[in-house]
Symmetry: C2
Subunit: 183 residues, 2 copies
DNA sequence: TATTGTTATACTCTATAACTATA
DNA sequence: TATAGTTATAGAGTATAACAATA
């Protein structure tokens, strides 16, 4: 005999293969994020957000406004201020008023921050390689990138978290999906 | 001209297509988790962990020990106790000593908990469908499930978080990857 | 002795709203 | 008026270690 459905009558359950994809995705990414976080914390005493902030700075020209950073990283502005404060206290970044717009804060990566990234990035890549990248064929890499880009665009296409945000529309995929060309 | 590499000389950068897969995966799952969390909070005032606890109970016979629950859900035991406490205070689950093992706590889903799941599950599925499942072809579903199952097994195969755990080895994929057959 | 689970405690992170200053 | 950012504050969640009870 089979279990009774948890869904109300008339609700058609999702295709089992898709459901399996969803569950496997949830579990695998949760485990992967755990491993990555552990590594970043152990090697550089960095939270994932802090690492992302530094990476974004290190991958570009070393500067960004708080708004630039907040847009890509799903954060609230105050949360970003908090994390940036931690980075600044450690001397990994500096914050100054932007000359262009006196309201804006220009975040600049410090040499110590760049050094830290250079120190921990190889290990980070090793973790990701071992637990994910090495398990993919070339074809699968393309497929996965394809699928996830589609999902990202789909989610970013609607008013999701922006309803809560102060910033206006500008819902034109401001995220940094392309991997930095500096690896 | 191109940016200087962030990697030390001698370190071979990962294949760009794999890197792209990794970045897209990170961003897409982060956005997806955000949406799902927002829905669960808005509709049922549940955290993701609380939802997972209830789902695991509702998908089985309605009972589980704290250890059973802690094994699948990446949690520390104290964190699980905290979340279970919240659920119990709301009358969504009950906790009693196990008759088999007087040390163990038997967690049982309450009718209110089952009702809550029945109420919010359709919306949850709708979110996941809209933002993920509907974007996949049958073939892609299979591919994604295949890839992520491999990743999960790879990560669970080693001593990852268990080094921190109190529980002994038993590293035999205790996770609940199979989607509940009750949807 | 080892295992199950809880508690005490401290800490990290996040979000909301109020506030300042500039555009 | 709207935007950029900070701050104050409060709450949610997590982890560690110590603990009690049972195996």
């Amino acid at each position: 005999m089979s279990e009774p459905s948890l869904l109300p009558p008339g609700t058609d359950p999702p295709d089992p293969r898709r459901l399996q994809a969803y569950f496997a995705l949830s579990e695998a990414t949760s485990l992967l994020n755990d491993q990555v976080e552990q590594h970043l914390r152990a090697e550089g005493n960095l939270s994932t957000v802090q690492f992302q902030i530094l990476m974004r700075l290190a991958s570009g020209d070393g500067h960004a406004t708080m708004t630039d950073l907040a847009d890509g990283l799903v954060h609230s502005r105050s949360g970003l201020t908090y994390q940036a404060g931690l980075l600044e206290r450690r001397g990994l970044i500096s914050r100054d008023r932007s000359p262009d717009d006196e309201r804006a804060t220009l975040v600049t990566i410090a040499e110590e921050g760049a050094e830290l990234i250079r120190r921990i990035l190889p290990g980070h890549i090793h973790v990701v390689r071992t637990l994910l990248l090495d398990l993919l064929t070339d074809q699968e890499s393309d497929q996965l990138a394809d699928i996830m880009t589609r999902v990202r665009d789909r989610i970013r296409a609607e008013p999701p978290r922006s309803a809560r945000r102060r910033r206006g529309p500008k819902r034109h995929l401001p995220g940094a999906t392309e991997p930095p060309a500096v690896l």
